[in-house]
Symmetry: C2
Subunit: 140 residues, 2 copies
DNA sequence: TATTGTTATACTCTATAACTATA
DNA sequence: TATAGTTATAGAGTATAACAATA
């Protein structure tokens, strides 16, 4: 399992690097894509990371042209992190790529095998959740 | 899947931190445990990381008392990274913990469910391998 | 008084390039 | 001439703490 995740992370990192992205920045883009313009505060909570960290990630994404900082309409302390056209297009591609990978991995699998996999994974996940004390996982 | 790996990595990092370890350093310890005293060069290859990176990881493990640098018996350029008693004990605990986790996750699972999980994962892994061009995975 | 985001500081992991000591 | 490991330098991700502007 560890080997598999390392393998996936490395390959994902390489793929993202071709778009001048890192895993951490792509994760922020991904959440932004699903939530729309967001304050840095809310992104810090969603990504379970310090506000200072978000400042750095957004700095990077701004300088590489994926997002901009827009003034919050009612709270002058806050900024809204917002996609550029390029950022929106890239986030959409991330989602499309995820869907394509899922299809590639599962579409030729028999219903029986797929059901067995899902059932087994659900059992493992359930045990993990119990052991870790119900983490807030979002089941994406 | 991504959420799951993130979840596992975070939790693993927290657990390791209680032993003053990081994931990268524990990975080195793990390989050392399975290979015995090793040159930094060989560790760089095994971990697929630059030699300079190994210098840093070993520096950290030396200063926290897990390993020492010993002279190589025949090559005076090389050093052999070697466990301290504390390091050897810790590596053994890592392996024991891995085994315990595996037992916890699978021992109450029916043979049928377990077989379905293994079969499904094997199919997914096979497709990944085909797509990525037969990575050198070690199947641990 | 509390919250948002930044500056200041620090640590870890990672890389490439140049260099030293040895083979 | 090639190899093992280090120093030099750099960048990314992460954290806490102090601070400014605003609520």
């Amino acid at each position: 399992m560890l080997e598999l995740t390392v393998l996936l992370n490395d390959d994902m990192a390489r793929a993202l690097a071709q778009d001048s992205l890192t895993v951490a920045r792509a994760h922020l883009l991904w959440e932004l894509h699903h939530r729309g313009p967001s304050t840095q505060r809310s992104l810090a909570e969603v990504l379970a990371v310090s506000p200072r960290n978000i400042t750095g990630l957004v700095d990077g994404l701004v300088s590489t042209g994926f997002v901009t900082r827009q003034p919050h309409p009612t709270d002058r302390r806050a900024t809204l992190v917002t996609f550029t056209a390029h950022g929106a297009r890239t986030a959409q591609q991330l989602e499309t790529g995820r869907d394509q990978l899922a299809r590639f991995l599962f579409e030729d699998m028999s219903d029986r095998q797929f059901a067995g996999l899902v059932s087994g994974l659900a059992a493992v996940l359930g045990r993990l959740r119990a052991a870790l004390g119900q983490p807030t996982g979002e089941e994406r």
